[in-house]
Each structure stands twice: as structure tokens, then as C-alpha cells.
């Protein structure tokens, strides 16, 4: 994969010095995705599912055709793809609709300290409301979820397993292909946060057999404000809407109303139409690049970077065995917020903080971490720019007395 060529697809790289290493927070957006978004607003920016006139027909066609593109992309059926505001919104729908209806007093919900707040907190609320128990999978010494440790907490009381596909802090991939069948054996439902998974590797919801799976557009070269909730048809069918209002309802009487079928009963009000259509374009772009190539490219960058970072004294890497392009680290004795200002001075963008996963930061026994994350447009020149800056940062902070 020629990342230098790919950079040309992104107008933001007109700034030749930009070194963007924060794709796990939000990826950059290629021009062709922006153009599709633009085209919607400029040429047919009207509502879907309502107008009988031609423009609305075009908008509806494109909106629904994007749903089909995404369904094919993850091997789901058309009706199993719900457009949401993002992964957080999608995971909240699962907890509020499925969770509130099916979790009862004394039931157990399995979570873990690696989860993003968007996956953890909705279930914390369900557990509180329903007097259910949140049970944490013990992490290994590396901070991983293993099938073995998952089995330690799986019981006949387990009703829900809320779990990530790829950790946003540690970058580890969860062994879902083993965990999901085990969960199903005890009759539990598995809700997967795949926000860090879908941008980087092929996910087939049927072969994975996930019950719910959520991801965000803006982490996979698409717009903000759009995400996807996949749910198995049988589960979605009996679930209640979370929000009521326009577009989601079939018939309305004075005291009763009947909601549409999935996915529409979960898409209340005017959806982010242009964003949904542009997400379809992002999917096509990823498919053209090819997941195999993306994985291979990110692996190579990660391997090289970790190997070089390990040569620098005064740097601690928290996930040296990671299998994805996410590297969590700190400069010893330097608060990440101090460090990140140094990198910013070299036009290198990275994350500093707890990455919306306070539990794992606490698990690491640090106040916060630095994180770089690679994606399709990152080059070995980016890696070198980062490594040079890292060496400079270590020397600088030492010189001023850290």
C-alpha cells in the first residue's frame, strides 16, 4: 500500500508538515467522502421517506442504498442495519431498549475495564435500575481479555456480555470468535463495540455471530454524526423504540400508536442523511484499499515504531505486544499533557489523557497516557517524524528538570 499516494486523497495533507497520529479518536476524511456529503447538501438536500416529489425520491434512494452498501460490507441483512448518531448512540440503544426489557434483578452483565465509557456506562445504568450485577472480566498482566478469564465470570446468571472488538487504549483484539459461542451457550446476548475494529479489519457479523455490533462513521474515513447499530433481526423485531416521534411510526391513534419495523423504529426524526450517504462512500474507499493491505500496512508501521521506541531510554510502552496500530506509552516522569504540547509544537497530533476509558488508565496505575494510532494515510516518514520528536521531547524535559 502506497500511503504517500493515499495522502493525496486528503486535502488536509496540503499541510506537508502535518503528522496525524490520532485516528483512533477520529480519522481524517478523504475528499471523495466530503464531495458526496457536499453533493447531498448542494444538489438534493431534502428529507427522506416523506416527499413524493423527485428530489426526495433521490435522497431516499441514496440513503437506503447506503444502508445496503453497509449491510453488504458487514454481511448483514438490509433490515439489520440501523443508522445512529455514532457508536455511543448505538450502544445506548442496545442498553436502553434490549437491556431495560430483558435484564432483571439478580442477573449478571459481563463487562471489563478495557471498555470505552460508551459501552460501560449504559450497562452501569441498566444494572443500577434493574438491581442487576456488573461483573468484570479479570484482565491478564498485559491487560488483555482472554477466553480463559472470560469463562471465570460466565455463569447461568449472565444475561448480557458488553465487550469491545478492539480496545481503544491498548489496541488489543478480543477473542470474540471464542467468547461469543460460550456466551450463547448460557443464553446470554453479546453486544460488541466495534468502533476500533471496523475501520481496520473485515468484520462479518454472521460468522462472528454477534447479537449487536456498533461502530462510528468518523473513525472509518466517514463523517461525524453517523454510526451504525447492527442487530440480529429476531432481536430487533421484539425490541421497543427508544425515541418516539417522526418517521418511526406506522399508525397513530389518540391513545395508541404502532411503530414501524426495524430499522425504522430506531431512526426517529430526520436522520443525518448526507452523512449516511457519505458513509457509504467511505465504505467503498476502504473496500478499494482492501482490508488485507490496511492491516499489513498498519502492522508494519506498528512493528517499526515499537522497535525504535524501545531503543529510547525514558519511554514506557504499555502494550508492546499489541497486534493493531495503537501504541500506548508515556515519557517517564512527564505528565502526558506536558508531553503532548511538545509533540504539538512539531505538528504531531496525538491523544493524551484517559481516552474515555478511565478504568483501564487506573488499571495501568497511571494518571493518563499518550496514544498514537496509525491508519491508511500514515507513512514511515510519519513514524520517523514521531520518533525524532519523541527523542527531542525526552531530552527537552530532562533539560528543564523533569
Amino acid at each position: 500500500m502506497d500511503a504517500n499516494r493515499i495522502k493525496q486523497d486528503f486535502q488536509v495533507y496540503e499541510d506537508k508538515t502535518l503528522c496525524y497520529l490520532d485516528s483512533a479518536a477520529s480519522s481524517l476524511k478523504p475528499d471523495r467522502v466530503i464531495n458526496v456529503l457536499d453533493e447531498y447538501y448542494k444538489k438534493y438536500g431534502v428529507n427522506v421517506h416523506r416527499g413524493v416529489y423527485n428530489l426526495s425520491y433521490i435522497a431516499t434512494e441514496k440513503y437506503e442504498s447506503s444502508r445496503q452498501t453497509i449491510a453488504d460490507f458487514i454481511n448483514a441483512d438490509f433490515d439489520e442495519v440501523i443508522f445512529t448518531r455514532g457508536a455511543s448512540n448505538a450502544l445506548n440503544v442496545v442498553a436502553l431498549s434490549y437491556g431495560m426489557a430483558h435484564v432483571n434483578e439478580g442477573d449478571e452483565i459481563i463487562v471489563n475495564e478495557l471498555e470505552h465509557h460508551s459501552q460501560l456506562l449504559p450497562w452501569q445504568q441498566v444494572a443500577k435500575a434493574k438491581k442487576a450485577k456488573l461483573v468484570y472480566i479479570p484482565l491478564t498482566i498485559e491487560g488483555r481479555i482472554t477466553t480463559e478469564n472470560f469463562q471465570k465470570v460466565l455463569t447461568n446468571k449472565t444475561k448480557v456480555v458488553a465487550i469491545n472488538h478492539t480496545s481503544n487504549v491498548m489496541g488489543y483484539i478480543t477473542p470474540l470468535e471464542e467468547i461469543i459461542p460460550l456466551a450463547h451457550e448460557v443464553g446470554a446476548v453479546v453486544s460488541v463495540d466495534a468502533a476500533q475494529g471496523v475501520p481496520h479489519q473485515k468484520i462479518d457479523v454472521k460468522s462472528l455471530d454477534a447479537d449487536f455490533l456498533a461502530f462510528s462513521g468518523h473513525k472509518m474515513l466517514g463523517p461525524t454524526g453517523i454510526g451504525v447499530l447492527y442487530g440480529k433481526e429476531a432481536l430487533l423485531k421484539e425490541m421497543s423504540p427508544v425515541e418516539y416521534g417522526g418517521d418511526m411510526i406506522d399508525s397513530v391513534e389518540k391513545y395508541e400508536s404502532v411503530a414501524k419495523d426495524a430499522p425504522y423504529k430506531f431512526e426517529t426524526g430526520t436522520p443525518p442523511i448526507g452523512e449516511a450517504i457519505a458513509l457509504g462512500e467511505a465504505v467503498r474507499y476502504i473496500e478499494e484499499l482492501g482490508y488485507e493491505n490496511i492491516r499489513e500496512h498498519e502492522q508494519a508501521l506498528k512493528e517499526y515504531t515499537i522497535k525504535e521506541m524501545q531503543k529510547i531510554e525514558g519511554v514506557t510502552i504499555y502494550n508492546p505486544t499489541v497486534e493493531t496500530g495503537i501504541i500506548a506509552f508515556n515519557i517517564d516522569g512527564v505528565h502526558p499533557h506536558d508531553a503532548v504540547t511538545y509533540f504539538d509544537g512539531d505538528n504531531i497530533c496525538m491523544r493524551a489523557g484517559h481516552h474515555c476509558a478511565q478504568l483501564v488508565t487506573r488499571w495501568l496505575n497511571v494518571v493518563a497516557t499518550l496514544r498514537i494510532s496509525y491508519y491508511v494515510y500514515n507513512t514511515f516518514e510519519d513514524a520517523d517524524q514521531f520518533l525524532t520528536s519523541l527523542k527531542g521531547a525526552v531530552a527537552f524535559f530532562k533539560s528543564v528538570g523533569f
Binding site: V340, T341, G353, V367, G392, F396, G401
Partner: protein, 143 residues
Amino acid sequence: MNNMENLYRQVIMDHYKNPRHKGLVNDEHYHTSHIKNPTCGDDITIQSRVEDGIVKDIRHEGTGCSICCSSASVMSEVLVGKTVEEAEKILETYLNMLTNKEYDEEVELEDAIAYQGVSKFPARIKCASIAWKAFEDTLKESE
């Protein structure tokens, strides 16, 4: 080229490594304010004791970056012994200086002037101001 030297002045590093007025007290004469910056994890608690319109003492405790922690220490040194009115004037001047607003250069900021460089690092303004804002809250409580 990185211009980090503008930010990490000697005074700042000195207070970061050897903080003054550090540690909270269990005394009802003190008013307490706790501020967290959830995006970066800065977490600071400020206590102040005001008597007869004079800031008699300031205490601080918390975790955060060097700018955040040192500014709590510098603030304590600058403001203790000032009248509430003087302290409020310094506070206002300091916050205006950080945010690139017009400020009264006649007001003596003492060591707090070391944070002038922060205004060139917009992402760090919050770090340099949360201790001061927490102090402001304790003053409101004393009123």
C-alpha cells in the same frame, strides 16, 4: 522548531518540583473547592482562609501536569497576605493575560507573570487556570 522554552520557565519548574503550600488542612475556617478537568485528568483541590478581608492562607492538593500543579503553588505564594480585593484584581489580570485579552499591566503579578507564555499554547490555558478558578470559587463561598 519547538518553542517549548517559552512555556517551561524556571519558576514554573521550581514550583512543580518543590510546591509551596501543598497539602490540605482539616479546618472549618477554610473554604474548599475541587475542580476536575476530565479530558486530561487534572484534578485539583484548593482551600483558602480569609479573615478580616485578607487572604490568610491557601492550600492545594491534586494531580495534573506541571503547568497545573505549579500554578497552584505559585498562586498560593502570590495571593497569601493580599486583601480579597487585591487578590481578585490579580486573578482577573492573570486570567486575562492567559486568554490573550487586554489586561492591566500595572497590576503586579509577581511570579505568576511566568505563565505569560501559556497564551501562546491555547490547549494549555485550562491547565494554567483551573487552580485559580478553584480559588475564585472558594472566595465566593467566603462571601
